[in-house]
């Protein structure tokens, strides 16, 4: 079996980013703000987005020549973790995944689009289709003579995105089309998803004509799809690792407050030991996350590390959310209990870009032959 690396690098710059982002998310996304946005149409607060843009976060991974900071996915993951912890409603992750794809676009395409994103334009990637296949190269949507045929599903933040990176098949090969909001007009159809802090839509693409200049094809398209997968796995791991810490806080607070049969319920070992298990899972998840981030930042092969990180963080988060509801007892069964917000987030993340069983099957082939 191949020897796995155990390296984690974390720069002073990342440490500062983590500190800043932790304070920012705590301030901007208290749980009442999360709840206030649940029923809103756009699902996010434009003023908070503008603050994030002003902090330079939308351009973290965009090269300096296009108005960004020229940093890596590792820095993006670092600010994403506290966003997950505080359930911050934001199109940040969608936009950053699109940025990673666009780094494989032509020089002219990058020059036209990346500066807009650095200045606050929202972007997203449209990858999945009706059958829910996680394989990003299993694409049914086609472009024949630059006329699209097909539909995309689970397009996160489509309702507010300015720029769309859409996977299609051109002459049998995977390709990407970069479209503007104006190109899609009335084709963005909202979906109802399990995580009410997020927004998703279906894109009905049939009949839309696209300019040739909007396409990424050939090797660049394959690399862009790989970059989308890597970024999605890393940032889902970051959101989930943050989410575990967030839901553990909610649970521990309640266990330290609620009394039953004359004692704090946190003194009961049946509850205490599950919390210890969740903490152990949190520690392992964060370790996997920052290791995978280290490999991504160094442009090293990160597939094993990323799939491990996604598997561990999302599985632990799903367990932590499940136990949080259970440990709140009758209150946990109600809408008012915050545990459900985390559990629903955990379920969204688990089934987004591959669940634990999917990644373990891929890992088995990578690790065991």
């Amino acid at each position: 079996m191949a020897q796995l690396s155990h390296r984690i690098a974390f720069s002073d710059e990342q440490a500062m980013l983590l500190e800043t982002a932790t304070a920012f998310c705590r301030e901007k996304s208290p749980i009442r703000a999360v709840r206030n946005l649940l029923g809103s149409e756009t699902g996010f607060d434009r003023a908070v987005w503008d603050d994030m843009v002003a902090l330079g976060w939308s351009g973290i991974a965009i090269p300096e020549q296009h108005g960004g900071s020229g940093l890596t996915l590792a820095e993006v993951a670092t600010v994403t973790e506290p966003m997950g912890r505080h359930l911050l409603a934001t199109p940040f992750v969608s936009t950053q995944i699109a940025v990673q794809a666009l780094l494989h676009a032509s020089a002219a395409q990058q020059k036209a689009i990346l500066p807009r994103i650095a200045q606050g334009a929202i972007a997203t990637t449209a990858m999945f289709e009706a059958d829910g296949n996680w394989d990003l190269t299993a694409i049914e949507t086609t472009a024949t003579a630059l006329r699209l045929e097909g539909a995309k599903s689970m397009v996160v933040d489509a309702g507010v995105a300015d720029i769309f990176v859409i996977s299609i098949r051109v002459d049998g090969a995977p390709a990407l089309a970069i479209l503007d909001r104006a190109d899609l007009q009335s084709r963005i159809l909202p979906e109802t998803i399990i995580d009410e802090t997020k927004r998703s839509a279906r894109l009905d693409l049939t009949g839309i004509e696209i300019p040739a200049a909007s396409l990424i094809t050939g090797q660049a398209a394959r690399e862009a799809l790989g970059a989308i997968r890597d970024a999605a796995l890393l940032l889902a791991s970051a959101e989930a690792a943050g989410g575990i810490a967030g839901v553990l806080d909610v649970t521990v607070d309640y266990l330290n407050t609620r009394t039953s049969f004359g004692r704090k319920i946190g003194s009961y070992q049946s509850l205490k030991h599950a919390c210890a298990d969740i903490l152990v899972g949190l520690e392992r998840s964060r370790s996997h996350l920052y290791h995978a981030a280290t490999l991504c930042a160094g442009n090293e092969t990160a597939e094993i590390a990323l799939r491990m990180a996604k598997t561990e963080a999302c599985e632990v988060f799903a367990y932590a959310g499940d136990r949080a509801v259970q440990f709140h007892g009758g209150f946990g069964f109600t809408w008012e209990c915050d545990a459900q917000l985390y559990l629903r987030r955990a379920m969204w993340l688990q089934y987004w870009h591959g669940d634990a069983a999917h990644h373990r099957r891929k890992l088995a082939d990578l690790l065991l032959g």
């Binding site: 079996m1 796995l4 155990h6 390296r7 984690i8 974390f10 990342q14 440490a15 983590l18 810490a245 553990l248 521990v252 266990l255 330290n256 004692r263 704090k264 946190g266 003194s267 070992q269 205490k272 030991h273 919390c275 210890a276 298990d277 903490l279 152990v280 949190l282 520690e283 392992r284 998840s285 964060r286 370790s287 996997h288 920052y290 290791h291 491990m308 598997t311 561990e312 069983a357 373990r360 099957r361 890992l363 088995a364 690790l367 065991l368 032959g369």
Partner: protein, 396 residues
């Protein structure tokens, strides 16, 4: 090539050339499992050979028998022993717990008297901390040491004494002041085992093997100079010993203390073992389980790396160290249990059966893995510690 690279090449060659031949009996997995004279002699000779080659106690002072070299040399030796999966050295309690303690706080006389014998395996050491009635609660120790002129008189009993039958010395925690029921009444001794009134009774383990003893003290008289530090400092010194035991502070003589199978060994096992007429590694359910273990193992190794980065541990700095025993012992326990199941119907064979897989070492490893999930504070106690000290949940 640098000096260290030269040294790496030197010791890689030395261990390759000097590794003792495989014995015709199953070696123990750790110093806690040494149960027969044949196992003990084999491992003691191995330690002596390594020491005489200059590869043990390399960073200990020359004056007491050490090598006086920088720690990095010993680290290279330890890593090579792990890499080549050599047999371990048996005097772990001396080399890595008692020895560093004596070097840290012992008197000149104590250093002169004990260190050399620890290194060359002439003097085997054991530990007398746990007692039959106190479980994981060390501070409740009842074994008495009563001052009588130039001697202390020992009465009571210690249990789970690894190498108790072979040891010449014991690091002993005993109560010198019965009026102080907990910490303040305890003192620390370097006690000679071959003393009238000290007897060891082997304990048979669930594997059927031996390896521990219960140690009985019946009016055993030991000289007053066996007291380490002062009366009443026993708890403090015992806690310092535990930091060496847990590897939390440096100063160990080195060598490896166990040769227990890990997750990559289980992957290799899955390639050779057969289930339902095909290699176990082709079974999708076994593959899924193997990957779970690989993710978990990798997670723990990465925790060790992240633990060295303060900015990634600032919120709960104790989380990684305090959960370490719980994480790794439970992992090993479940891993060895799973490894047995890879063997199909042959999984039910036991040590000594001619057709047992690798001599039955996996079956034995599973049953022995309880020593880490129970010894040194059970996993249930560990989970309490993590929940209470790291998460701040209330005590029972």
């Amino acid at each position: 090539m640098s000096e260290l690279d030269d040294f790496r090449a030197e010791i890689a060659a030395w261990f390759r050339d000097n590794r003792p031949p495989e014995p015709d009996f199953l070696l123990p997995e750790s110093f806690m499992e040494v149960g027969t004279d044949a196992q003990f002699d084999y491992l003691r000779n191995w330690q002596r050979k390594i020491y005489e080659a200059g590869y043990l106690g390399m960073a200990w002072p020359v004056a007491y028998g050490g090598g006086g070299r920088p720690q990095i040399f010993q680290d290279i030796v330890n890593a090579e022993m792990v890499r080549q999966k050599t047999p371990f050295v048996p005097n772990t309690i001396g080399l890595n717990w008692a020895g560093p303690l004596i070097l840290a706080i012992g008197t000149e006389a104590e250093k002169q008297r004990y260190i050399k014998g620890i290194l060359n395996a002439e003097d085997i050491w054991c530990q007398g901390f746990s007692e039959p009635d106190q479980g994981s609660d060390l501070a409740a120790s009842q074994t008495k040491a009563t001052r009588d002129g130039d001697h202390y008189i020992l009465n009571g009993s210690k249990i789970w004494t690894s190498l108790g039958s072979y040891a010449k010395y014991m690091i002993l925690l005993a109560r010198t002041n019965p009026a102080e029921p907990r910490y303040g009444g305890l003192s620390f001794f370097l006690a000679p085992m071959r003393t009238q009134g000290i007897e060891t009774q082997p304990i048979r383990k669930l594997t059927g093997e031996y390896g521990f003893t219960q140690t009985f003290f019946r009016d055993a008289r030991i000289p007053v100079d066996c007291l380490m530090g002062r009366e009443g400092e026993g708890w403090k010194i015992a806690m310092m010993t535990l930091t060496f035991e847990r590897g939390a502070s440096g100063g160990q003589a080195g060598g490896t203390a166990r040769l227990a199978p890990g997750v990559t060994d289980v992957v290799e096992l899955a390639r050779t073992a057969r289930r339902d007429g095909r290699p176990a590694i082709d079974d999708p359910l076994m593959r899924d389980q193997l990957v779970r273990f690989l993710i978990e193992d990798q997670g723990d190794r990465l925790c060790a790396a992240r633990g060295a980065i303060p900015a990634l541990c600032s919120e709960r700095p104790q989380a990684i160290p305090l959960s370490q025993k719980l994480r790794t012992s439970e992992h090993r326990h479940r891993l060895t249990q799973f490894a047995i199941g890879l063997q199909g119907a042959n999984a039910a064979r036991w040590v000594g059966d001619a057709n047992a897989f690798e001599g039955g070492k996996w079956q034995r490893a599973y049953l022995n893995s309880f020593s880490s999930t129970i010894g040194g504070g059970t996993s249930q106690i560990q989970a309490n510690i993590v929940a209470e000290r790291v998460l701040g949940l209330p005590k029972d």
